[in-house]
C-alpha cells in the first residue's frame, strides 16, 4: 500500500470510522456531510464493520438514538452539517449533560437563511455553548487523525464528553488530498476498546438517568459539568502527543506557525489556516516578521494558552467565519480578546469577518490583513470595528 492515497476529506473520515468500527452509527444525510454516512453505510452493507447502522428520520432522532446507544454501553458516531446540527440542538445539550462520549463529524456549512450549502462556521458557533468539544481541522489528514483522537479524548474516564470533529464543508470535505491512512491494526490498537462508564443493564446496580432536576440539584450538576472541562486542555495535548508518537503527526490545542519571532499574527480556524501559512511563507520570504496561530480546540477554549502565544506581539488579527448578530464583535474575536484582557495581555487586535456562505478567501485577502496589522502596530492601536474580507463594498 502506498504511503499516502488520494481521498476526499469525507471519505478519509469514513475510513477512520471503518477502522474504529463503532458499535452504533445513527445518522441522517445532509450536504456536505452526506458522503461520510454514505461511504460508511456501504461498509456496513459489505460487512466490513460490525456497526449497527440506524437510518433515522431526522437529525433530532439521530442524536437521540446516539445518546441512547451511548448510555446503553456502545461506542457511537454520527455526522452532520448546518441545519442538521441545528435540528439536533436540544439533544446536543442532553448528550453532554449525560456525559455520553459520542463522536460527531461536523462538516461546517452555513446556516440558513437564505439557504446555502457552502462553508462557514455558523453551525459550530451556534453549538458552542452546548457542552461538546469542538476540534477544528485544517485538511483531510487532520480530519482523519482527529477522528481517532476525538474518540480517545471523549472516552477518557476523566472526561466522558461528546466531541465534534469540525472540518470545512466542500473545501475539506470534497477536496481530494493526499492522506496517510494508517494500518487498521495499528489505529485500532491505539484507540483501544470501548469501556462503558457504567453498564446500562446491570440489575445489581441500577441507576436513574435524566431525572427531574429542579432548583435543589440542577445548579450543582452544572457545576460538576464545568469542572469536567478543566482537565481537557491537558488531555487534548496528551492524546495529541500520544498520536504523534504512534503515527508521527502530533497535535495540541493549537498550531503556532512561525510564531517565535513573529510581530504580526493572524489567528484562524479550519482550512483558512492553510492559506494563512502560505501567506506567512511568502511574507517571510520578504523578510517580514509574521506568524499564524491556528486554533484546533475551540471548545474547550484555551484562552490562557492563546494569551501566552500572543503576549509581546505588536498586532493581532482574528478571522471569524460567522457572526454573532447583535454582538459587540464576532465570536472568535470576542473570545480571544476577552482571554487577552483576563490574562493582562495588551495588544492591538483587528477583527475580520470573511468567507460567509462559502465566499472564497484568497491569499491577497490575508496579505491585506498583514498590511493592516503593520499599520496598527505602527500606531499601537486598532479601531475595534468589524472589517470584512472578500465582501463587495
Amino acid at each position: 500500500m502506498p504511503d499516502q492515497i488520494a481521498l476526499e476529506g469525507n471519505i478519509a473520515v469514513a475510513e477512520a470510522m471503518r477502522q474504529i468500527n463503532p458499535d452504533v452509527v445513527a445518522a441522517y444525510p445532509i450536504t456536505p456531510s452526506t458522503e461520510v454516512v454514505q461511504a460508511f453505510s456501504q461498509f456496513v452493507a459489505d460487512g466490513v464493520v460490525d456497526t449497527e447502522f440506524v437510518a433515522v428520520e431526522s437529525e433530532h432522532s439521530a442524536m437521540s438514538a446516539c445518546i441512547s446507544a451511548s448510555l446503553g454501553g456502545g461506542r457511537v458516531m454520527n455526522a452532520t452539517s448546518s441545519q442538521g446540527l441545528a435540528l439536533m440542538w436540544e439533544m446536543l445539550y442532553i448528550a453532554s449533560s449525560l456525559r455520553t462520549p459520542i463522536t460527531l463529524a461536523l462538516v461546517n456549512r452555513a446556516l440558513s437563511g437564505n439557504i446555502n450549502i457552502h462553508c462557514d462556521h455558523s453551525d459550530s458557533y451556534g453549538a458552542r455553548d452546548c457542552g461538546w468539544l469542538q476540534l477544528f481541522c485544517e485538511n483531510a489528514q487532520e480530519a482523519y487523525d482527529s477522528m481517532f483522537q476525538a474518540v480517545k479524548i471523549g472516552e477518557d474516564m476523566r472526561v466522558r464528553l461528546p466531541v465534534m470533529v469540525c472540518y470545512d464543508g466542500f473545501l475539506v470535505s470534497h477536496s481530494v488530498e493526499m492522506v496517510k491512512v494508517e494500518e487498521d491494526a495499528a489505529v485500532k490498537a491505539w484507540v483501544g476498546p470501548y469501556i462503558p462508564d457504567r453498564p446500562f443493564l446491570d440489575i445489581e446496580h441500577p441507576y436513574t438517568v435524566g431525572p427531574l432536576d429542579l432548583q435543589d440539584f440542577y445548579f450543582e450538576h452544572k457545576r460538576g459539568q464545568i469542572e469536567a472541562y478543566k482537565c481537557l486542555p491537558d488531555i487534548i495535548e496528551e492524546v495529541g502527543a500520544s498520536f504523534g508518537e504512534a503515527f508521527g503527526r502530533s497535535y495540541g490545542l493549537m498550531e503556532p506557525y512561525m510564531m517565535d519571532d513573529a510581530e504580526l499574527v493572524v489567528v484562524s480556524l479550519g482550512s483558512t489556516a492553510g492559506t494563512v501559512k502560505d501567506v506567512v511563507d511568502a511574507l517571510r520570504g520578504q523578510g517580514k516578521a509574521v506568524g499564524g496561530l491556528k486554533l484546533r480546540a475551540y471548545r474547550p477554549f484555551p484562552a490562557a494558552e492563546i494569551a501566552a502565544q500572543l503576549a509581546g506581539k505588536k498586532a493581532v488579527a482574528i478571522l471569524d467565519r460567522a457572526m454573532s448578530f447583535g454582538a459587540a464583535s464576532a465570536p472568535l474575536y470576542s473570545e480571544v480578546t476577552s482571554g487577552l484582557y483576563a490574562n493582562r495581555v495588551c495588544v492591538p487586535c483587528l477583527g475580520y469577518l470573511y468567507g460567509l456562505g462559502g465566499r472564497e478567501i484568497l491569499p491577497e485577502h490575508v496579505e491585506r490583513v498583514y498590511a493592516d496589522l503593520a499599520e496598527a502596530a505602527a500606531a499601537g492601536w486598532a479601531e475595534p470595528e468589524m472589517r470584512y474580507l472578500g465582501l463587495r463594498e
Binding site: 446496580h205 431525572p211 450543582e220 450538576h221 457545576r223 460538576g224
Partner: protein, 101 residues
C-alpha cells in the same frame, strides 16, 4: 439512593444520574400542591377510580380499600384528577391555605 439536599456539587455522581432505581418515592413533590383533595368517606363507594387514575400514586390504598385511607400528601400535586373521575363527586379540592396552622 437520594442525595441529601445539602450535598455539595463535587459529591454528586457524573452525568446527573441518581444511583439506584425507583427513587421517585424518596422525592417529595407535595410542596407543589395548591389545592388539596378531601374525600367524603360517607359518600365513597370504594370503586378505586381515584386510585387507578392518580398520576402520582398518591391515593392511599390498603386492603383494597381507599375509603378512610386519605392521600399521600408528600406526593400529591393537587392535580384534581381524582376529584374529576369520582363517580359520586365525593372528592373536593380545597386551597392549601385552609389547612395552614
Amino acid at each position: 439512593m437520594m442525595y441529601p439536599k445539602d450535598t455539595p456539587w463535587h459529591k454528586l455522581a457524573r452525568g446527573g444520574i441518581i444511583p439506584g432505581a425507583a427513587t421517585a418515592l424518596a422525592y417529595e413533590t407535595g410542596g407543589w400542591r395548591t389545592f388539596r383533595p378531601v374525600r367524603d368517606d360517607e359518600c365513597c363507594i370504594n370503586c378505586l377510580f381515584c386510585w387507578v387514575y392518580c398520576p402520582d400514586g398518591a391515593v392511599v390504598c390498603e386492603d383494597k380499600t381507599v375509603k378512610g385511607r386519605g392521600f399521600d400528601l408528600d406526593h400529591c400535586k393537587g392535580c384534581a384528577v381524582c376529584a374529576e373521575v369520582c363517580p359520586k363527586d365525593c372528592i373536593s379540592m380545597h386551597p392549601e391555605s385552609d389547612f395552614a396552622q
